[in-house]
């Protein structure tokens, strides 16, 4: 398997070993093996080999690398020693490496399945049990035109108009975020993210609880609700923006994505929703893969600076080794804060997208300080808008023998949100065939994306493949497969 190494992320000696063991065309020929004492030199070596890198979307930035090294020298050393013990100077057999690659691949895919499925589950359960999250009702500033039109043509035209307005918001938010990032206005981005998460955590949580309580039909007092909201919100702020246990952080990110998806689902008109899903997949594709795409610029800028992209917006499946690198302000990921407006719907979308994009790019860039298998996943940035398409893979020091979760797969939160929206719309019909077909298609799309990621090792948009599959499956199931199987059932023909 052709191995593109994100050299920035590999520690030099790991890189050396990988390169030696590979017969493929690795550009870098025999980089020197830094000794353990030269920890700061690691960063220097990595930056010097930047130009020679095949795939450049390695996340580990030199500065953060050196920062991490400075803080955790003992871990690095043990890692090095372990590596050396495991793998003396001779090459490892290629098949073992191949095994490792594939092993990481499968387990990582599964690690992403669980949070995505959980998010979808939360969204669907909420929709099914409460009545207040059904679409219709108030219109939204992002999609100002309603769809109560007399003819289909009119409906399509107005839906298209809605979609373009929405995409305009998304693109504007992304561009602003990238401009802010380029001009190093980290404080603004930081503050923005904090505000967004604040609003998301407290206000949306409050309305979520009110819907749940209304559907449960039990009297709950104001004091308990305020107390619970305050608790969950404050702990969320702690875990997402500062340090917290990993499962709690993952749970919060999943829950936030579910909340956002619910808001989206409630406020998006029907046809507009489908069009938006399609257009945003295309946008994701363009933004990530085109040389001038904003997200790509973001990734490359972060890559040049050696910074992490905002971790807050990205879901990481395992511990990230560069924990300490997260602390410095630029690398702190956060939810894109939405501008606090009175109209919540307005705010939610915009801020998130940018943040998400940043995060996505960040995620990719920040991936693994050391990557045994460089895989660029598209990080999905969090919160709203951006359908973080990038699933980022980050391998924490692979040489740590007892740590199975060396590589962490990162998925942007935007991807969570849009997958959940698709599934929510699919389940709105009430037909389980459709729901399950869409769910399976989304997961297959995710698998394929991760596979592509493993092969290409660059940041990839995670939305297009899955959403395409989901849309195709949805419409074909509703209009073709559903009636077909109904007819078969009536005629008692079993295939």
């Amino acid at each position: 398997m052709h191995r593109l190494i994100d050299d920035n992320q590999d520690s030099p000696d790991e890189m050396t070993e990988l390169l030696k063991s590979q017969d493929n065309d690795t550009i870098i020929d025999g980089p020197e093996r830094p000794n353990i004492t030269n920890l700061p030199d690691v960063a220097i070596i990595q930056t010097s080999t930047d130009g020679e890198n095949i795939s450049s979307n390695a996340a580990a930035t030199a500065s953060s690398h050196s920062r991490v090294e400075a803080i955790d020298p003992q871990d690095h050393e043990t890692t090095h020693r372990h590596r050396r013990n495991e793998q003396p100077d001779e090459q490892r057999p290629l098949n073992i490496e191949h095994e490792e690659i594939f092993k990481y691949g499968a387990s990582h895919v599964v690690k992403l399945f669980v949070p995505v499925s959980l998010c979808m589950l939360i969204v669907i359960i909420t929709i099914k049990t409460t009545s207040s999250y059904t679409p219709g009702g108030a219109t939204w500033a992002y999609t100002p035109f309603t769809e109560d039109k007399s003819t289909n043509t009119q409906r399509i035209l107005f839906s298209l108009a809605n979609t373009f307005i929405f995409m305009g918001f998304v693109i504007t938010a992304t561009v602003i975020l990238i401009l802010l990032y380029k001009f190093k206005c980290y404080k603004i981005i930081h503050g923005w993210l904090i505000l967004t998460t604040l609003m998301l955590l407290f206000f949306f949580l409050y309305s979520y609880f009110s819907s749940i309580s209304a559907s449960l039909n039990r009297p709950i007092d104001m004091i308990t609700i305020c107390f619970i909201t305050w608790n969950i919100g404050a702990v969320g702020m702690f875990c997402i923006h500062w340090k917290g246990p990993l499962p709690v952080q993952q749970a919060y990110l999943i829950f936030m994505s579910a909340l956002l998806a619910l808001v989206f689902y409630k406020f998006l008109p029907d046809w507009t929703g489908w069009l938006i899903l399609g257009v945003i997949s295309i946008w994701d594709l363009i933004a990530v893969l085109c040389p001038k795409g904003p997200l790509r610029i973001l990734v490359e800028t972060a890559h040049e600076r050696g910074e992490q992209i905002f971790p807050a917006l990205i879901y990481s499946s395992t511990m990230v080794y560069m924990v300490t690198a997260v602390d410095p302000p630029p690398s702190e990921p956060q939810f894109a804060p939405d501008n606090i407006n009175t109209n919540i719907a307005v705010n939610v979308d915009e801020t998130l997208n940018e943040e998400q994009r940043n995060q996505r790019a960040a995620i990719r860039n920040n991936n693994a300080r050391r990557q045994l298998i460089p895989r660029s996943d598209v990080p999905q940035t969090a919160t709203r808008r951006e359908p973080a398409r990038y699933v980022v893979e980050r391998s924490n020091s692979p040489v740590i023998d007892d740590d199975d979760d060396d590589e962490s797969v990162k998925l942007g939160l935007g991807d969570f949100i849009f997958y959940s929206i698709l599934l929510a719309k699919a389940s709105a019909l009430g037909d389980w065939n459709v729901t399950i077909a869409c769910y399976v298609s989304l997961l297959i799309g995710l698998c394929l994306t991760l596979l592509l990621l493993a092969i290409i090792r660059k940041a990839l948009p995670a939305l297009p493949i899955s959403i395409t599959f989901g849309l195709v499956l949805y419409f074909s199931t509703v209009y073709i497969i559903g009636p077909f199987s109904a007819e078969l059932n009536l005629g008692q023909v079993f295939i």
């Binding site: 803080i71 955790d72 871990d75 009110s210 309580s213 209304a214 039909n217 039990r218 009297p219 709950i220 007092d221 104001m222 004091i223 308990t224 609700i225 107390f227 305050w230 608790n231 969950i232 404050a234 702990v235 702690f238 340090k243 917290g244 246990p245 990993l246 709690v248 952080q249 971790p311 990481s316 511990m319 990230v320 080794y321 924990v323 300490t324 997260v326």
Partner: protein
Amino acid sequence: MVSLSKKSPEERLNICRKYYRAGFAFLPLLWLINAIWFYKQAFKVEPYPQQAQIRTYVIRSAIGTLIWIIIIVAWNITFQLLRTKMGPLGDFLTFVYPRGYY
């Protein structure tokens, strides 16, 4: 995304202390997470100089969580039983009014 084992003992103590202190702001959930997260550090890992301090924080966080749980449960029982008898105060405190059925 933090791994406690990869942090220095001072940082662990710092995190534990911050969680403990922040929990006084009516945040028993924070105490609960603190107790669970640092439980292994306080009791199961071989001792290091800061462990004694972490241990006190963990124990106090656990006690604080228990106290808060008792308070919340007591308050909820009171409210559910006396809601209809409290008059205007009961209505004011109610967050959601249950619907009648027809």
